[in-house]
Symmetry: C2
Subunit: 207 residues, 2 copies
């Protein structure tokens, strides 16, 4: 079976690829060889279609990059928006945000991997980095609120706390590989447990 059922209304184009499946292959190549190290020629060879068939779907390589990193960023911002709407303490919302971010990472692994490797050489990359900083600021603000409410340890400044927190989350791209669908929820719980309650067993572990 070479024709994947289109996940969204198919654009015109050569049979066998819609924008979605083309994007998946492009992201795989970008992750393997680096964005700068991948040409439209490489992509055309990998897909087995001509460059003009690719340009039928997208105007440029940079547009493929934009679509890919937005897939990751949109997921993260949707999670942040949900977390902010939650009733409950700042800590509850922060835990929700961490859990949700792990799930986005697991579900959109190739897109998040690409996002985390973006270095800022093009306009699309600089925009992505700016959105990442905006997301980091949301996390830092929530950490600061939870520290202010006496729920999080105050010795660390909120920016350092949020970096350590998402350092752990983001490091998942280095080793996590999905195994048949499930596993994301468990992993998200594990990360939240380690981050907020630590690895040490306590005589009476408060729940």
């Amino acid at each position: 079976m070479t024709t994947a059922p289109p996940a969204r209304p198919a654009k015109r184009g050569r049979p066998g690829y819609d924008l979605e499946s083309l994007l998946a292959v492009a992201v795989q190549l970008f992750n393997e060889r680096g964005y700068d190290g991948t040409s439209m020629e490489d992509l055309s060879r990998k897909l087995g279609i001509s460059k003009s068939a690719i340009y039928h779907h997208v105007p440029s390589k940079e547009e493929l990059l934009r679509l890919a990193v937005d897939r990751a960023l949109d997921g993260l911002f949707a999670t942040a928006a949900l977390a902010r709407e939650l009733p409950g303490s700042a800590l509850t919302r922060l835990e929700h945000l961490v859990r949700g971010s792990v799930l986005v990472l697991v579900e959109r692994l190739p897109f998040v991997t690409l996002l985390l490797r973006v270095r800022g050489n093009t306009k699309v990359e600089r925009t992505a980095l700016a959105r990442r900083r905006e997301f980091d600021q949301l996390v830092t603000d929530l950490v600061a609120e939870a520290v202010h409410d006496g729920e999080l340890r105050p010795e660390l400044d909120p920016a350092t706390t949020s970096r350590l927190l998402f350092g752990m989350v983001n490091s998942l791209i280095e080793w996590y590989r999905p195994q048949g669908g499930s596993g994301g929820e468990e992993l998200a719980e594990a990360v939240v447990a380690v981050a907020f309650d630590g690895l040490r067993v306590r005589p009476q572990n408060p729940e």
Copy 2:
């Protein structure tokens, strides 16, 4: 002042560079452009000396890579050896290992950064990856011992725990920048505190 005092017995070579200062510049370039993306020509241009002057110090680009990643790996293994010799519980030794690894990272930041980006295209890279796996196994064994002793939470398997732990440690290369000498000890304490006791404030925080 262009001639740095040699940190170790100077090899013959053009005045202005000993092996140590040459290695520092090479590692900086490798980190900026990638190892594959850096030629001896690039290095010669950056240093302002001829390629043959470089070959006076080292036989190949790969030998520079080997020296650099060994600088990181030797530091990590020395820390692991010290931790293993410590009296006390497995958890105490693990905390020591995490603290020491943060200090190695801070003190040898460019070398550890390079090590963590190694992908395994050459013999030197494959050897470095094998030593990284060996180090990971030391951490995992110590985690397993601490879980067995009832000191670490048993819900996670030891390999996942050690990945989350060193995910947090290794993520420091993404943002930590030394500011005038100190700061490493504090950062190491912060990482140990977050990893083992979590971010949450408890009514009675046992020390």
